[in-house]
Symmetry: C3
């Protein structure tokens, strides 16, 4: 599996990070994260270049990390700042550091070419920040399946009618259309369900409604959902009815950091909010999770497209995402090739 | 490991199957089994060609299976009979179905070329069906070792004298001969033990007996045993003294579906029958099982013949079976080659 | 991983061995060990050449081992001495036996070319035998990491100042030098710490001391430690202050038999001795162990030098050992090549 590094990935909920050293495998890279004394977040490789000790077993000395094995110290920029065994410090002793930015409640990491790390490209999750009219609830799952199986699942909500019977399933609409478009490197899927019975999770309102679901995929596997609902034949209101997001940060070839959240209306209410949070996470854990794990086992590490799947019209969004990912990975591979041919960075002992 | 598909394999005890969807890996194939409304058994691939979801998580709709992930439905013949996402159904949407026949209390599956699936070739286990004079007891083990290590074990009963001390071991006979012959694709081993002390598991009778053990191996790894006993020097009686069978259905490269049974005389007696059943299964679980698992671990997935084992005269039967299997696999590979070169079947997305 | 077989490896504490059959994987070889009737130790392959049954499941018949599966018997020299199935015994039926010598409380095995197995090359651990003035305590760990990661750890004690804070860590000396030399195939590291605060584990004495640590590495991964201490500026006393040893016998690609011991002064005292033993083993289990396991996981089976580690001056000893090992392995590979080309031994069915 080739991972996409020139993208912002959600590495952690911001509140997870403090002056503790936290290790996390992200898109195949062993990453170390912690808060500096000024409260900003630092991210470096978690592996000491000397004997490959995991640095999260060490300690913070100011904003530097001291390796627990032989005492080398690395600044938050990855530079070796102290070598207790000799006065010499040279380029081979530095480790990689990664651009990491706190925004919308998440720590966003850029594992690829630092020069390309433009914070303006961080996916907009501002709708899920807490405000006067709305607030959000958030969950995390350490998922035992590959990220792309999850992204496929999220891009095609037709599965809800079968996998989520009794929870999110909706009676068939008179007419359903799917429209897929690209916006720069994002993919937007618009699913229109005309004249369908009011979903069971909407307690009151007209019996027959029109529903519009807009699924917005960003590279970095961040996916926001917006659902609009109106009495059949009428215009959708300006305010979306439901808003939630799913983030499928690849951990490694086998696992996924699955972050998700849900927007709630009105003031915070711990009891009601926890019930809302569980509505989302329970369905994922008990309905999607076992299915995706089972598929992951059947695939035995093979790539989906190598297995020549049957492609249905409902896969339009998922297939477009795969096409964009293929293009982005090709661009990234080309850029790496040029960088390697050019003057380049100091050689890294990073593994 | 190359599996033999042009053979009848025992897939399940018939009583295991009902209107529940049952998945089982057989000779490397993910198989789905269930009873149709008319009571006959159906077997298809367990993998949906769309997203590789395991179909046993779905539900029966009449005699068709509806996939739990996106609702495709497949008839018991493997044909896609309903696609809820579009009206189109084409050949790429079908899955494989497999001939499966209920006989002698087992469901027999044919995973290879359907045209060759002749029910007349199903091994004859009629002696183990319940009747007036006899009835049988049956067991199943999900064995954590490769099927061929088990078949070797069963084809050479000389191991009983060492591995089964205190249970099935017999004092040495004055003379032991082994005769091996082939009958079409079956292998028959006849072991004659002349003038040996009466075995400990035969409570009464003459002190010195002649014993004849006939081991009948069928492709599909079905092995029946018949033991005849007579006072030394006399003719064997027409009725065999003991009758049992072992079936080593390959599951995958590492595991085996181990079915076994034992014929008991007289009317059924739940208490005595369970004691008989445990006589067989306890020895297999506690004496053969640990040895075969240990050998399996030492072999580390290598093929026996590649490891150049020492071959002893007692291996005559096991070696003949390996020769027949080699021939059958070569024939099967040749047939597949011809089929691939010919007009062939609709391409399958089967994995 | 290529193992070094032309060396004496510690296979077991002598007291572990008796008339029980003990199997142990040593440097990638499945070894069987037991005491013969005369009390000396025998070592052979643990694998029967017939069906690859592990012989330790069998039984001793005099000094021979009877295989539990089909009754072949092998003498302590590896020769097949009984074949119950036919009178013939030929060279293909023999298994390998290995020179094994009891000395200094250990059973030392030679897995390579028997003709080269010179007991004079067994590492001298006589200092750890019980005597009038001293006695020793000993421990064993079944370590879940590769032996060479452990040897690197032991050859460079600078890690103690970081990993063993609160246990073995010592305040910095005014001057530290490291001298490395070879003595035939041994590597000797002499570390001199001048004018350092008295270590916390030395309860009384001058406040400022000189310390000399002599680390003696023998092929077979046996490492003895001698620490001398004196008031700063004075000559070291003739008697070393501390003496201990560590042995990193490779088990296989992933695990290590970790034997260790510590010399105690004065008469035996079960309570005090157990406290001393735990001083050593607790630090290894709770401080080194988790670090070495974590490094082992990060290395994912790759060889250290292929990962191009940063090399520090403190690695001088470890690097010299790696150079010697490379030379010894090259010599061994060359010798095997010549042996294979020459008249050679009877072909072995050993796996």
């Amino acid at each position: 599996m080739i991972f996409h590094h020139n993208a912002w990935h959600a590495a952690a909920r911001a509140i997870e990070l403090d002056r503790t050293l936290r290790a996390r495998s992200i898109a195949g890279v062993h990453v170390l994260m912690y808060c500096k004394q000024d409260g900003t977040i630092a991210a470096t490789s978690n592996i000491c270049p000397h004997r490959f000790a995991p640095l999260d077993r060490g300690t913070l000395v100011g904003d530097a990390v001291r390796c627990k094995y032989h005492g080398l110290e690395f600044g938050s920029d990855g530079r070796c700042v102290h070598n207790p065994h000799t006065d010499r410090i040279d380029a081979k002793m530095h480790i990689r550091s990664f651009p990491i930015v706190e925004r919308h409640g998440y720590a966003w990491i850029w594992l690829g070419e630092s020069a390309l790390a433009d914070p303006a490209k961080i996916p907009d999750l501002s709708a899920f920040e807490d405000g006067d009219r709305y607030h959000s609830v958030h969950s995390y799952l350490d998922a035992d399946y590959r990220y792309d199986i999850l992204v496929d699942n999220l891009l095609d909500l037709s599965h809800a009618d079968y996998l989520h019977v009794g929870s999110f399933a909706v009676e068939p609409a008179e007419k359903t259309t799917i429209d897929v478009r690209e916006d720069n490197d994002d993919v937007i899927v618009e699913r229109l369900q005309l004249r369908c019975p009011r979903p069971p999770f909407v307690p009151s309102g007209p019996d027959v409604v029109d529903m519009r679901t807009i699924i917005h995929w960003h590279p970095g596997q961040v996916i926001t959902f917006r659902i609009d609902m109106a009495p059949a034949g009428q215009d959708f209101p300006a305010d979306e009815s439901f808003k939630f997001y799913h983030i499928a940060t690849p951990a490694d070839e086998a696992r996924t950091h699955y972050f998700m959240g849900l927007r709630c209306a009105g003031p915070k209410d711990p009891r009601a909010d926890e019930a809302m949070r569980l509505t989302q996470v329970n369905v994922i854990e008990n309905e999607d999770g076992p299915m995706l794990e089972a598929i992951d086992r059947i695939m035995e590490g093979r790539e989906l497209m190598e297995m020549r799947p049957l492609v249905l019209p409902v896969d339009k969004g998922a297939m477009r995402v795969r096409r964009v990912m293929k293009r982005l990975l090709a661009v990234e591979a080309g850029a790496e090739h040029s960088a390697a041919a050019g003057a380049g960075h100091p050689a890294s002992a990073e593994v």
